[in-house]
């Protein structure tokens, strides 16, 4: 186990810079998730950490050692690929033992360690099978087994669950998290799925267009997003954004939208009257009330545990989630009142949190 220090790392392909100085400290034993939309540079960063891509500038250190010029095999890391990259001509046991075999480990030692890893992952009955004969979830576990057997300093996961169906994905999510709690190996996990990030991470790193937008624990990111991008990216269904202007009424600030609705806020930066802002409120922080934003119900989507309502104010859509079963029909006029203490304000131009 080891800490990982990514300091001001840049990456260019040809003349095109895809990572613009990324700094991410990763504590020993942490489970860090790099999350962001596709093309944000998260996979590139992971591959640089693995040594599969060169580092254009900046440094990456594993433990106390800067690994910029260290060969992948000397870095003592193990990676799980999106397509698993299992060797099709080797059995599960051979796949898992391959790295040990290359290190000239003794046959007995190899099979003990493979058995132990297979035990942890429930793969023992499958050891003599070939990858073709396995289901998606089983292949996924073999890929993890191959990483565990090595007992590396750091585990790297590159979107490992995106080839699985929804149900299996949830199950494997739990399994990976459990595995981490058991082995306590430093883990860097890349995904584009914010739910995966939220549920698994000790620390989430939100990336966008080659920079780190925000770093922090899942709930920190959820409760206090630094900017509009993180606010919109974390949380499902996504946060509602309404354009408006800061106003105040006898010391009590509020945001007035273009349609004239008044949105409550707990506090506002001083001397900001008339400033254009973006008002953000999560779907679960909207209440049905007698005043607030007037909207017309467009779609009602019950999921059983909660009900999602898509409502329209003019051309803008607003999503609200209720745990209570309100009687609402498409076409109804409703009033939605945001909870002032959990509403977010962002600068209209920079998207920064106010």
């Amino acid at each position: 186990m080891a800490s990982v220090q990514i300091s001001d790392v840049r990456k260019s392909f040809g003349g095109f810079e895809v990572l613009h100085g990324v700094t991410v400290p990763i504590e020993d034993g942490a489970f860090v998730v790099l999350v962001g939309p596709s093309g944000c540079g998260k996979s590139t960063l992971l591959r640089m950490l693995a040594g599969l891509e060169n580092i254009t500038s900046g440094t990456i250190a594993i433990g106390d050692r800067v690994v910029n010029n260290v060969q992948p095999k000397e870095r003592d890391i193990a990676m799980v690929f999106q397509n698993y990259a299992l060797y099709p001509h080797m059995t599960v046991a051979q796949n898992m033992g391959f790295s040990l075999k290359l290190r000239n480990a003794e046959q007995g030692d190899i099979s003990t360690r493979v058995k132990k890893a297979a035990d942890i992952l429930d793969l023992t009955p499958l050891l003599e099978r070939y990858p073709r004969q396995l289901s998606g979830g089983q292949r996924q576990r073999v890929a993890m087994g191959r990483a565990i057997v090595r007992d590396p300093q750091v585990f790297l996961f590159d979107e490992p669950l995106s080839n699985l169906d929804a149900k299996l994905r949830v199950a494997m999510r739990t399994e990976i998290k459990e595995l981490h709690q058991r082995l306590k190996t430093t883990t860097v996990y890349v995904t584009h799925d914010q739910i995966e990030a939220m549920t698994m991470a000790d620390k989430i790193v939100v990336m966008h267009d080659g920079i780190v937008e925000q770093m922090g624990s899942p709930l920190e990111l959820y409760d206090r997003p630094d900017n509009q991008f993180v606010a919109g990216f974390i949380g499902s269904p996504a946060m509602n954004f309404l354009n408006g202007h800061l106003k105040s009424n006898g010391g009590q600030p509020y945001v007035e939208t273009e349609n004239g609705a008044r949105l409550p806020i707990a506090s506002a930066p001083t001397a900001s009257d008339g400033r254009p802002v973006v008002y953000g409120v999560r779907p679960e922080h909207l209440d049905l009330a007698s005043d607030g934003i007037e909207a017309e119900v467009a779609v009602v989507e019950p999921t059983g545990s909660e009900t999602q309502i898509v409502a329209r104010i003019g051309s803008q859509e607003l999503i609200a989630v209720f745990r209570d079963r309100h009687k609402v029909e498409p076409g109804d006029k409703i009033h939605l009142l945001p909870r002032a203490n959990v509403a977010h304000l962002f600068d209209k131009d920079t998207g920064r949190r106010l």
């Binding site: 095999k73 990259a85 060797y87 391959f98 790295s99 073709r132 004969q133 998606g136």
Partner: protein
């Protein structure tokens, strides 16, 4: 539309149960498939099976050009059994096939691995590699004929100018030089086929397997030994079968270069068969030599057949 007929009249229902034979044949997919296969089958029978059968039959007769033969049983074969030149041609053919195929494989694989890397002008280099394959055999044979010429050979000339030798090498005039020369020409012609086919095979190997192996700690050699080679074996088996078959039955190159000489040192079974059957007019004997190639070819196919038997790792259902 106002009404939709939902029930069949009684007669129609009866025909469904007992369709006449003709009706069943007309609608059967298998019969239809047979019709579709017929043109190809007729073509194969007319131009492949019939001549092959005729050739084998001819090898049991004493047919000559201009005279119908009579059945002589195994006489042609008995005669060949005691013919030193025939056995020399068998030896030459085996030597030619084994040496040329082995070297073609080695160079072809090396070129394929090289071309599979990222390099500048990749597309152009790949096209250049194919050139020997595109040039008609006889043309390249004539070019080699000049390269190997006793007086004007560019190789001899260059070596003399470099001061390495003092007189021309008689490439096609002495036995072993001649053997080496035709084998070299065959390799030159055959490498592109092996290289391009293996390259196609290499490109089916997922790059992430190499990355996984790199992280697992494999060196370049180990990646080849444990990933590339095992995944490439099915394609290697196919390519090498074809390569061996083509080389074993080679005729044009040798005939254009040496006509089997000097003193039959480069006579292959194919060239000997042509010389005896067509040039000397003894069709029966020529056919017997050609037929004698069949067991060798079958053996080559059998070896690759067993080599190509679906490997364990390729079996089982695909769960993708």
């Amino acid at each position: 539309m106002t009404t939709v007929q939902t029930s069949m009249p009684p007669q129609a229902a009866a025909t469904v149960e007992a369709q006449p034979l003709w009706e069943r044949l007309r609608t059967s997919r298998n019969v239809l498939a047979l019709w579709f296969m017929l043109p190809a089958a007729a073509f194969l029978i007319l131009f492949l099976a019939y001549p092959l059968g005729l050739g084998i039959w001819m090898s049991f007769t004493d047919e000559r050009i201009g005279r119908a033969g009579i059945f002589v049983g195994l006489e042609n074969y008995e005669w060949l059994w005691d013919d030193a030149i025939f056995w020399l041609s068998v030896f030459n053919t085996l030597l030619y096939t084994l040496v040329a195929s082995a070297i073609k494989f080695a160079i072809g694989l090396y070129l394929a691995l090289l071309l599979n890397r990222h390099m500048p002008f990749k597309a152009m280099i790949r096209a250049v590699v194919l050139i020997p394959f595109i040039v008609p055999t006889v043309l390249s044979a004539i070019a080699f004929w000049w390269i190997y010429d006793a007086q004007f050979s560019i190789i001899s000339w260059s070596l003399i100018k470099l001061g390495l030798i003092h007189q021309n090498i008689d490439f096609l005039g002495s036995e072993n030089w001649a053997r080496g020369s035709v084998i070299f020409a065959n390799i030159w012609r055959g490498v592109p086929f092996v290289a391009i086919t293996l390259l196609a095979g290499l490109q089916t190997v997922s790059p992430s397997l190499y990355e996984a192996a790199t992280l697992d700690g494999a060196t370049d050699w180990q990646r080849f030994r444990y990933i590339t080679y095992p995944l490439l074996t099915p394609i290697i088996a196919v390519v090498m079968t074809f390569s061996v078959l083509f080389t074993f039955t080679d005729f044009q190159l040798v005939w254009a270069l040496t006509r089997g000489g000097p003193v039959n040192a480069t006579h292959l079974m194919a060239t000997l068969s042509y010389q005896r059957g067509i040039i000397s007019g003894r069709l029966g004997e020529g056919a017997a030599i050609a037929t004698a190639m069949i067991p060798f070819l079958l053996a080559a196919i059998a070896i690759s057949w067993f080599g190509m038997q679906r490997r364990k790792w390729q079996q089982g259902s695909d769960n993708d």
